[in-house]
């Protein structure tokens, strides 16, 4: 593996401690941002989510590169495994955008359903057929 047993033993301890520290900080940050530690303090969701995602990615990097030894694999292997995951970046952006759009549409429908119309506009009557049609709908 190109590194001594003692060194890798020390590394394992070092990285598990870093991972544990990040996890503790994540939980602390989550509770801090929701007002559990300092009364009334609230961070905006976007800041919370951003910070959490960055910390999780650091943890993912440590697990893959240190624990799974990706660090010691040849570049070809690393690329074939890691590059495809970049597709997920777009998937996350696209689907969150889609989700927000669903919500907008739902809100629009609720809004329209709740609208009260003071003077309903009756389409101009052009013939008996149209009138009948409107009546049957209404």
């Amino acid at each position: 593996m190109g590194h001594s047993y003692e060194k890798s033993k020390k590394d394992a301890t070092k990285f598990i401690l870093i991972l544990a520290a990040i996890t503790l900080f994540e939980v602390f940050f989550a509770l801090l941002g929701k007002g559990y530690i300092v009364e009334g303090l609230h961070f905006p969701l976007i800041a919370m989510a951003g910070a959490m995602i960055i910390m999780s990615l650091i943890k993912a990097y440590l697990i893959v590169y240190e624990f799974m030894h990706m660090k010691y694999e040849v570049p070809g292997l690393v690329k074939t495994v890691l590059l495809p995951t970049l597709l997920l970046v777009w998937a996350v952006i696209a689907f969150f955008y889609e989700g927000r759009d669903w919500q907008k549409r739902r809100d629009l429908i609720t809004d329209k359903n709740n609208q009260k119309i003071e003077n309903p506009v009756v389409p101009r009557q052009t013939g008996m057929k149209t009138t009948k049609k409107i009546k049957s709908i209404g």
């Binding site: 996890t23 999780s56 799974m68 292997l77 495994v81 997920l88 998937a91 969150f96």
Partner: protein
Amino acid sequence: MAETLTHTAHEGEEKLWDGGKSPFKASYGKLMMWYFLLSDAFTFAGFLIAYGTLRSSMPTWPVPDFVFSIFPGGFHNTPLYFVTVMTFILLFSSFTMVRAVQEGHRENKNGVVFWMVLTILGGIAFLGSQAWEWTTLIKGEHVSVTTNPFSAHTESGVYLAGDGHDIKEGDTFEVGTPYLIHKHDGEWEFLKYKVTEGEDAGKIKQQSFGPKAFGALFFFITGFHGFHVLSGIIFLIIICVNVATGLYVKRKNGYEMVEKIGLYWHFVDLVWVFVFLVFYLI
């Protein structure tokens, strides 16, 4: 004929493509484990993205630090404490796995067995914790794949009745205040409240169930992860027994089988990092 042609045309590369070489310097088994994990990562990503999409499409969503706020021993108001313990259990079992692989590299049979047994115990402890968490949600709070009594208010108001638990008559709430609808004698008890602000101010309404998808997503995604942990434990036990009986000694490849199950085990931990992020932290 065609074969001879290609061979003469690429004489220099002949050796490279004749087999027997390992451009990735990894065995077939290890390489395939990496690709299996890559495909599995996409499966989990699909589920987690579905969760994110549905959550961002809903006007309200259960608040994680309210939903997961019970600790074994009857402790309430301990937001995320238990799941932090679960995360530490899994992290620790990842560490013991690293140690097992390291002992394997120096062909230390007893060392491998010792650290693998600790890893298996860690895995079992994690599954046990998950079983407790599920039991609390299903038996105690009556969450199911189709019913979700957890939600959060979308307007501010004041309760007109108490539920005999945390909510008392006259308690006020704001937009985003979480609530849990309790079941009394098999009947759901939807508390009535009066809206105090906004367009509907003065109206009397009652609590409604939270987004239906929450229960299904939670049980399915954490269940799928738990199933990975379970299969990991089974493979760890098989390989641990093989190590103990000395099967891998003859192979003289630094206990590569332990390395392969190690990759899988770390992956399970890796997935948990994101399950933890999506379900509990955000």
